[in-house]
Symmetry: C2
């Protein structure tokens, strides 16, 4: 298969999500990824999302495993067997990269730590992915996404101010961490081509989550704590109006701060609001946010639904969007046309939709024929 | 500066957040990034986060700009001047990569679309970053993070079920999209080294957000809509107990599903619960989630605070974490030691903290001396 990363070979010790995302992106771009799974059952991902599998074959194939492991090869071994360990040691010199997401220290106990790998191949690149990183007092914490999210301060920034924080039911930490790892590996391969040197990458969910703070960290720090960033429910906290608004049967996102406010006032046929000193800029509107939201939501009641409200507002250049649910995304013309959502045809599980490959290139159009391996298939 | 990407030169037309994140990661790893800013004021990021700047110099330097533009060079030009355009055209053949995040089509109007760039340098790599992608019916939508988030279905997965969705007050779309772009560019550089060919990358916030759905899309699709994934507040929807729990003075994340439930029962000194058929597995506990949460939160009342609860639970191997606020992250020993949070010393704004570089490598320790450019400095 020809793609951007054709010719690169990876030995893949990853399980579940962050690690498999890193190696799956390489596999989807043409790298040869040899996934090492533990006998007899294979990796834990094979047990997730089987119950909803309404496949025609009646098999118990995991849709979760398929999604995270497209185009990889599966090598199933007994980690307790010396012969299997010898086989892995024979493979290492033929691989450019090793990726693992065990708890820190485990890969070394298995005999494939960075020092050992370097002896087998001096310019090897090892990418270690973990929840809290390879070093530091919290390094041995269990590797769940929400644990890293809580320590990163991100959880504290989601939900209504006077209530418990909400957790996003999507892998905003694991997937992004996998992409951070993929970038690190690609950068290390460019470096190896120039210098002949290998590298050990230490990629953590904690660091990827913390990387999301575009303003909160520097504002809290530089103000000496005078600014205490915190969650603000469904509205942004430093411009207004900007956030989620109720419409008949659903919600929309509406961004009408700064110069967009004038466009919204025109759309609402309320020139009085545009002139009113109480609403003249974001600072004044923030001071009266509940009033501003009530005015807008009162006006929005005239629309039949989110799509009608969005169509009207867009004709006045007001930035907005319907809050789509998952079912709506599956058939949205833009998402389908772009391949944001794609249909795969698994040999056993049949046809279903999953997120598309998010790196779109001019040279290699999307390939929807990729398969995930059966356990030990290769 | 020696680092993984030393020797690569980028022409950077980006503004605000997703684009600058992509090029800043290259700059922090040693690439020469020439940021093109529009006279007279420079890019919009220079106007954000000035108010909280308590710098000793009394300057009005933007901390936001510093954070997103470390180690870049600034070239300030008048986009209306033919001489300036000539100068940019002279630069292109010396650059490996061009990155832009204008609204789709604008870079071509400026005379630097992919076809024009290819004439100037046949193997050029152009990375176009946008909210909804370069093509498709929604391509011209305005580029705000939450608009892409709403269309991706992610917004619908955050918040209490019977209430409006909440929006995270952190750039979980923009930053991750920048990292997706950085990976795409690095992969295209590896491909160029092998084939001599350039590439045009189409990177969208919508696609990066959609990529986060690790189970929801395939579950909704494969069940024919019988499963309708939706937000579930502060608890996970398919295992139990797992989510946010109230403690004295704050909240913790507690993951006590599957085999962790037995450990939690031991920690609570409630062997009866472990045997009780009403709580015997995740399915049963999910059916009685409110009861389960009430039992745990009642028991948690005995602890003085989140840290005390976490320390006790960890001694029983129950995965958990305190929900830290931003101020707490700034001084947490693990985050400080790892460089998850770092202190920068800007020439004008002085010393403050911001998120660290999330790609940590064995060969090149963190460098906290990097500076963001003054407007037109280079």
């Amino acid at each position: 298969m020809q793609h951007l990363l054709t010719g690169i070979r990876m030995l893949d010790f990853t399980r579940a999500l962050a690690g498999p995302t890193c190696t799956r992106m390489f596999a989807e771009m043409g790298a040869e990824v040899i996934k090492v799974e533990s006998a007899p059952g294979g990796e834990m991902g094979r047990s997730i999302s089987k119950s909803c599998n309404v496949s025609k074959s009646g098999s118990e194939r995991s849709l979760y495993y398929i999604q995270q492991n497209l185009n990889k090869k599966s090598l199933c071994i007994d980690f307790g067997s010396p012969a299997a360990m010898d086989l892995l040691r024979e493979l290492v010199p033929h691989c450019d990269v090793v990726v693992e997401n065990f708890r820190p220290g485990v890969i070394a106990q298995l005999g494939f730590g960075y020092e050992e790998l370097k002896r087998l191949r001096p310019d090897i690149i090892l990418c270690s992915i973990s929840a809290m990183g390879q070093r530091g007092p919290l390094a041995q914490r269990p590797g769940y996404d929400y644990i890293a999210q809580a320590y990163s301060g991100i959880t504290s920034m989601i939900g209504e101010p006077a209530q418990a924080p909400s957790i996003p039911l999507a892998a905003v930490g694991d997937i992004s961490t996998g992409v951070h790892g993929a970038f690190g590996v690609a950068a290390a391969l460019l470096h190896r081509a120039r210098t002949g040197q290998g590298q050990w990458l230490d990629i953590a969910l904690l660091d990827a989550y913390y990387h999301y703070h575009e303003v909160s960290v520097h504002q809290c720090s530089a103000s000496g704590g005078a600014i205490q960033p915190s969650r603000a429910g469904r509205q942004m906290s430093y411009v207004c109006p900007a956030g989620v608004f109720k419409v008949r049967g659903g919600y929309i996102i509406l961004m009408a701060f700064m110069h967009h406010w004038a466009d919204l006032c025109r759309a609402m046929e309320r020139p009085d609001l545009e002139q009113d000193p109480r609403y003249v800029n974001d600072t004044e509107r923030l001071a009266r946010r509940d009033e501003v939201v009530a005015i807008i939501e009162g006006w929005l009641e005239r629309f039949a639904d989110a799509n009608a409200a969005v169509a009207y507002l867009e004709s006045f250049d007001v930035p907005c969007a319907p809050v789509l649910n998952i079912a709506q995304t599956l058939k949205h013309p833009h998402l389908v046309e772009r391949g944001t959502v794609r249909t795969v045809k698994d040999r056993l599980a049949g046809e279903f939709q999953m997120p598309g490959m998010p790196i779109k290139t001019s040279g290699y159009p999307a390939n929807n024929e990729l398969q995930a391996p059966l356990l030990g298939e290769h």
